[in-house]
């Protein structure tokens, strides 16, 4: 459903992604693994329109997204959950979630969406009237995920969900991501370490802005030497 072809993107004169192609099928969970600074976040930003690609094409279900603005890409159903959460600090949990449903199509269904999100993250229901800045790191990550789920997503793109969290919370989070995927939503996740590649159906290895390998999660796990080479 999501198809990226020959994507080039970067900042100013320095190109970060060089002719990158990947695809995510309907209902599939895909992980792009790569070390810090090799272009994972740039890839997601280029797909979601925060960064304009210099060349190449991004398609969703056959429609090109390349010339759309960020808000139109969201409307098309590509939802990007950014690194570092970027919650709205001076708004309550409830208001943050509502902003995830800002697009009018999602806004009309906000009541059902609330139920889904609160079912996945009961802690958010408990904290619903608290300001987002008063949440713990793990709760913020859940809020960022929940906010993304409030929209009408066809595919969810998640940037390093484990960054800076305690191990126990990380485990819970990946469980939830798996659950979200099993409910039918496609997922494109970028990650720095290979600890959780089992949530994915397929894995790409990204190095210096180029995808160097692709395979199923099981294949990758069997090839531990390879993972070790790329990710230290």
């Amino acid at each position: 459903m999501l198809k990226v072809t020959d994507l080039h993107a970067g900042y100013g004169d320095s190109e970060v992604l060089h002719s990158l192609s990947l695809h995510v099928d309907e209902g599939e969970a895909v992980i792009v693994l790569g070390p810090n600074g090799h272009g994972k976040t740039t890839l997601l930003r280029a797909i979601s329109g925060l960064l304009r690609p210099t060349a190449g094409n991004v398609e969703l279900n056959g429609t090109s997204l390349s010339h759309l603005r960020a808000e139109e890409i969201v409307a098309a159903g590509v939802i990007h959950i950014p690194q570092g959460d970027l919650v709205f600090p001076e708004m309550t949990v409830m208001e943050n979630l509502l902003m995830g449903a800002y697009r009018i199509e999602a806004w009309r269904e906000r009541k059902q969406k609330f139920e889904q999100v609160f079912h996945l993250f009961p802690i958010l229901a408990e904290r619903k009237n608290q300001l987002a800045r008063s949440l713990s790191g793990g709760e913020r990550r859940m809020l960022a995920l929940g906010r993304g789920l409030m929209g009408k997503a066809q595919i969810l793109m998640i940037d390093e969900p484990s960054l800076g969290l305690a191990p126990l919370i990380i485990e819970q989070l990946y469980e939830t991501i798996k659950e979200i995927n099993q409910s039918g939503l496609s997922i494109l996740l970028v990650d720095e370490n290979a600890d959780h590649i089992t949530v994915a159906d397929r894995v790409y290895l990204l190095e210096s802005g180029v995808l160097v390998r692709e395979g199923s999660a099981e294949e990758m796990l069997r090839d531990e030497a390879l993972l070790a080479t790329y990710l230290g």
Binding site: I79, L86, P89, E90
Partner: protein, 292 residues
């Protein structure tokens, strides 16, 4: 005792008007990070349009007031589309937006001067009569201004808290990237902010020009005072701005009543300087971090 009542009433009155002016400035600062120096001209637009309709076209006062406010909002819309949007998000935004808004204010003031001349105009009062408060007697118009301002402040904060677009304004000002990722069209939101803010300035112009005179430079003083209020309240903070408006309004009124009106502006600036030394981030000490 009479002096005290006089000062408190005067403070509430000028605090209300300052609040209207300052909230517009703070909304724009909070979301666009722009100091809108054309804000005083929007005050003029409101005042002069209403005055013209009443005196040249014999329109009744209330509809003329409404049209004045709408006209200011429209001018804000046009300014945003023609002047601000082209430089939005380009390098040098801070300076470019300052120069663009100063330019717009000079142009608008000159237009007013060309059409109406420099002679002062006075708006008729919307509410005749007096009311007495203990031993002092005051014009009903003043009461109208206070009520209208409080009502607008209340409506605005309800809009920002409860409505989809109001929340989006706060979201954009707190975390622009995330707002984009939620599918919030930031440019459209900026347009809404500008229109609301211009309408507030227009409303201040309409209400105040029955107390103060209308001249082509009449928007300057309210804008400067509103600027003091927004800085005092912590730029970009709604709650801070409303508190600051009434504190500064009261301070000004007390200065006028007890020390003479020539002390009002110097006193305010002195206060602001001291304030900036003690609390550089404004009344609530939230500063840069605190947005709408």
């Amino acid at each position: 005792m009479e002096k005290l009542a006089e000062a408190i009433y005067g403070g509430l009155l000028s605090g209300s008007v300052l609040g209207l002016m300052a909230l517009g400035l703070t909304l724009i600062w909070g979301s666009l990070r722009m100091l809108n120096l054309a804000h005083g001209s929007l005050y003029l637009v409101g005042g002069y349009v209403a005055w013209t309709l009443i005196n040249w076209y014999d329109l009744p006062i209330w509809p003329a007031f409404v049209v004045g406010v709408v006209a200011a909002a429209l001018v804000g819309l046009v300014l945003q589309i023609t002047l601000i949007n082209p430089i939005l998000g380009k390098p040098g935004w801070d300076n470019a937006s300052l120069i663009a808004t100063v330019g717009a204010s000079i142009a608008l003031e000159s237009i007013v001067l060309l059409i109406f001349g420099a002679r002062v105009k006075q708006m008729p009062v919307a509410l005749e009569g007096q009311f007495t408060l203990g031993t002092i007697s005051k014009a009903n118009q003043g009461l109208l201004i206070i009520v209208a301002a409080l009502l607008s402040l209340f409506l605005l904060s309800a809009f920002l808290r409860r409505s989809r677009h109001g929340m989006a304004i706060r979201a954009v000002s707190q975390q622009t990237d995330a707002a984009l990722l939620m599918g919030i069209p930031t440019r459209q939101i900026f347009l809404i902010v500008m229109v609301v803010s211009a309408a507030l300035a227009g409303l201040a112009g309409v209400l105040l020009s029955s107390i103060f005179y209308l001249t082509p430079t009449a928007g300057f003083n309210p804008m400067i005072k509103a600027l003091v209020v927004t800085i005092f309240g912590g730029l970009g903070s709604i709650k801070g701005t409303i508190w600051a408006a009434y504190i500064i309004g009261l301070l000004e009124a007390f200065l006028i009543v007890y020390m003479g009106s020539s002390w009002a502006l110097p006193g305010l600036f002195l206060f602001m300087i001291v304030m900036l030394v003690i609390r550089p981030n404004g009344l609530f000490g939230l500063g840069e971090m605190q947005r709408l």
